[in-house]
């Protein structure tokens, strides 16, 4: 049985609309918005899912339904055998949640005070709690600011605390909605290492949404891509790159100072030496710069195409 099973799930909102029509007449009414439309997928234990979609694609709505915050309008979701929105509290014990820029930390006090609260909320046994706090402090490199009030921490430091907090009770499932937004390179690396460790060692199933495609490319083993609430792609990154024309670009600069020339090519069909030989006929090459299509280009192409 899959760990998470999403079956034909839709979520509709009624949105109040107010404005003027073409003749300047006032109109108001309710518009039906389909945030998620007939979405289905299964997630197996231990998977690391990259959940991709443009703004408003329905990512957050889907995560909120999977974490028990919202009821679907139709369809069913099961996480670990229960419908999360029907058994919200039971489900909460199984999941850890990080919703980007929203803080749950006690602003005036050091992180240990928020940890203590979570120990009680999730009934974490004392030895498990001590073990996790020590381990997470080390992996996420939080030792140097462990006794500093949260309000004095940087965004990256706070996010590390948030992430540790979401995992204190060892949930088998972790939902991460934009956890690395606005963070510097060092903080991002700490956080990525932590996710890799949890996923690899503890087998934690992680569902991650991010606009940082490098995050996803390095971390996720599978991509679920949605647009306008519907499934666009579900598979590995390699399949994604294969399926959508992943072209590389070679930019040639010439010794005689004329305009550089760009050549797009599919590395599977033509090799770089072949292209160099061909372009070399036009003049003496002083430099070649090759840019391989990265995941960001592919995603852009998919959404634009």
């Amino acid at each position: 049985m899959p760990l998470i099973s999403v079956k034909n799930v839709s979520k509709e909102y009624k949105q109040q609309t107010k404005g003027k029509d073409g003749d300047g007449k006032r109109i108001s009414g309710k518009k039906l918005i389909k945030a998620v439309n007939g979405l289905s997928f299964d997630i197996e234990p231990g998977e690391f899912i990259g959940f991709i979609g443009e703004n408003g694609a329905g990512k957050s709505t889907t995560i909120k339904m999977m974490s028990g915050i919202l009821y679907p309008t139709s369809g069913t979701i099961h996480t670990m055998g229960i419908e999360p929105y029907k058994k919200r509290r039971e489900n909460a014990m199984n999941i850890g949640v990080v919703f980007g820029q929203r803080s749950r930390l006690v602003w005036e006090l050091p992180m240990s005070d928020t940890f203590e609260l979570y120990k009680e909320i999730y009934r974490i046994p004392a030895d498990r709690f001590r073990h996790n706090v020590a381990l997470f402090t080390e992996i996420l490199d939080m030792g140097e600011f462990a006794n500093t009030p949260i309000r004095q921490l940087s965004l990256g430091q706070r996010m590390r605390v948030e992430i540790a907090l979401s995992m204190l009770h060892d949930p088998p499932i972790l939902f991460l909605d934009e956890p690395t937004i606005g963070l510097d390179v060092v903080a991002k690396k700490n956080i990525r290492d932590f996710f890799t460790e949890r996923n690899g060692r503890e087998g934690t199933t992680i569902i991650l949404t991010s606009h940082d495609m490098k995050d996803l490319d390095t971390l996720a083993s599978r991509v679920i891509m949605i647009t306008k609430g519907e499934m666009l792609f579900d598979g590995t990154f390699d399949t994604l790159k294969e399926r959508y024309n992943a072209e590389s670009v070679a930019v040639f600069t010439f010794s005689d100072g004329r305009e550089p020339e760009s050549v797009s090519f599919d590395p599977k069909k033509r090799t770089l030496p072949e292209i160099i030989a061909e372009i070399g006929n036009q003049g003496e090459i002083s430099n070649v710069e090759v840019k391989n299509a990265d995941i960001e280009d592919i995603i852009r192409e998919i959404y634009n195409g």
């Binding site: 909102y13 703004n55 408003g56 990512k59 957050s60 709505t61 909120k64 974490s67 028990g68 915050i69 919202l70 919200r88 509290r89 039971e90 909460a92 014990m93 999941i95 949640v97 919703f99 980007g100 929203r102 749950r104 006690v106 005036e108 006090l109 005070d113 203590e116 609260l117 009680e120 909320i121 999730y122 009934r123 909605d177 934009e178």
Partner: protein
């Protein structure tokens, strides 16, 4: 139950720790707050004095009404005042989502996060007022009186608690409900006076609809043996706690009803 007590205590310790980080400002704020309430009562006192008595109630009896009222208010506000202030913002910016991802019942969790130690000012002022009023009125305080007083506090806590819940609940659907808060305080100001001074329609509303009369007007009469039962008989003294409980239950029901209809905001 044990789980919720433990969790409540853990949160309470955390709130105290936060408060004591800014000890001086906390103390100064509480003194100013107590003075505020004192001045508010002084104005009522002057008014009662001008009329010599108010519908058969003297200044010290009105003082008991005031003290009992603010203790009831403090009990409810200790749990719910900050929740009332913050819910609208949390619903609007989506922070309320986080509450729903916790393995805790929604209302206790919201209360615990927002416990408010500020009401020490109200309770202290009320204690002073009780000492003054009881000695001036020559009320003997025995076990029966203490029990009646405690029951009065419970009634007050329930009615104010019900009012806070009625003000909070619609926020989950309407998102902005500041207008409801004003009703709580408008009626509170009215309930400092003997309810019998108001026209019949107000008496009915304040007894049976939004039962502010149950907070202190009837309980104080039970305490000092007064008989100002409005349009009702003596039985109202005994029914009062039931009215308070029923009103709180309505608040709880509406809260649950509205939370279920909560629609999260986008990311």
């Amino acid at each position: 139950m044990k789980y919720y007590l433990r969790l409540g205590m853990t949160y309470w310790k955390m709130h105290l720790k936060k408060t004591f980080m800014f000890k001086q400002s906390f103390i100064i704020n509480r003194i100013v707050q107590a003075l505020n309430y004192f001045v508010e009562f002084a104005l009522i006192w002057i008014m009662v004095n001008a009329f010599e008595n108010m519908n058969g109630w003297n200044q010290y009896e009105v003082m008991l009404l005031y003290a009992t009222n603010i203790v009831g208010y403090s009990i409810a506000a200790f749990f719910l005042y900050r929740t009332m202030l913050s819910t609208s913002t949390e619903v609007q910016n989506g922070a309320f989502d986080d509450v729903l991802t916790k393995p805790v019942r929604t209302l206790p969790y919201m209360c615990f996060r927002n416990l408010n130690p500020d009401y020490i000012a109200h309770v202290t002022l009320a204690a002073v007022m009780y000492v003054v009023a009881f000695s001036r009125l020559g009320v003997h305080i025995g076990i029966a009186e203490i029990a009646k007083l405690l029951l009065a506090f419970v009634c007050g806590g329930l009615v104010y608690g019900g009012m806070f819940l009625l003000a909070i609940a619609p926020t989950f659907i309407l998102r902005e409900t500041r207008f409801l808060r004003n009703i709580i305080f408008l009626l509170r100001d009215m309930s400092y006076y003997p309810i019998s001074v108001f026209p019949l329609i107000i008496q009915v509303i304040m007894t049976l609809v939004l039962p502010y009369a149950v907070i202190s007007f009837f309980p104080v009469q039970a305490l000092i043996g007064k008989q100002d039962y409005l349009f009702l008989g003596r039985a109202i003294i005994y029914i009062a706690p039931l009215i308070a409980t029923a009103f709180f239950a309505v608040g709880l029901w509406l809260f649950g009803f509205c939370v279920k209809r909560y629609k999260s905001t986008g990311s």
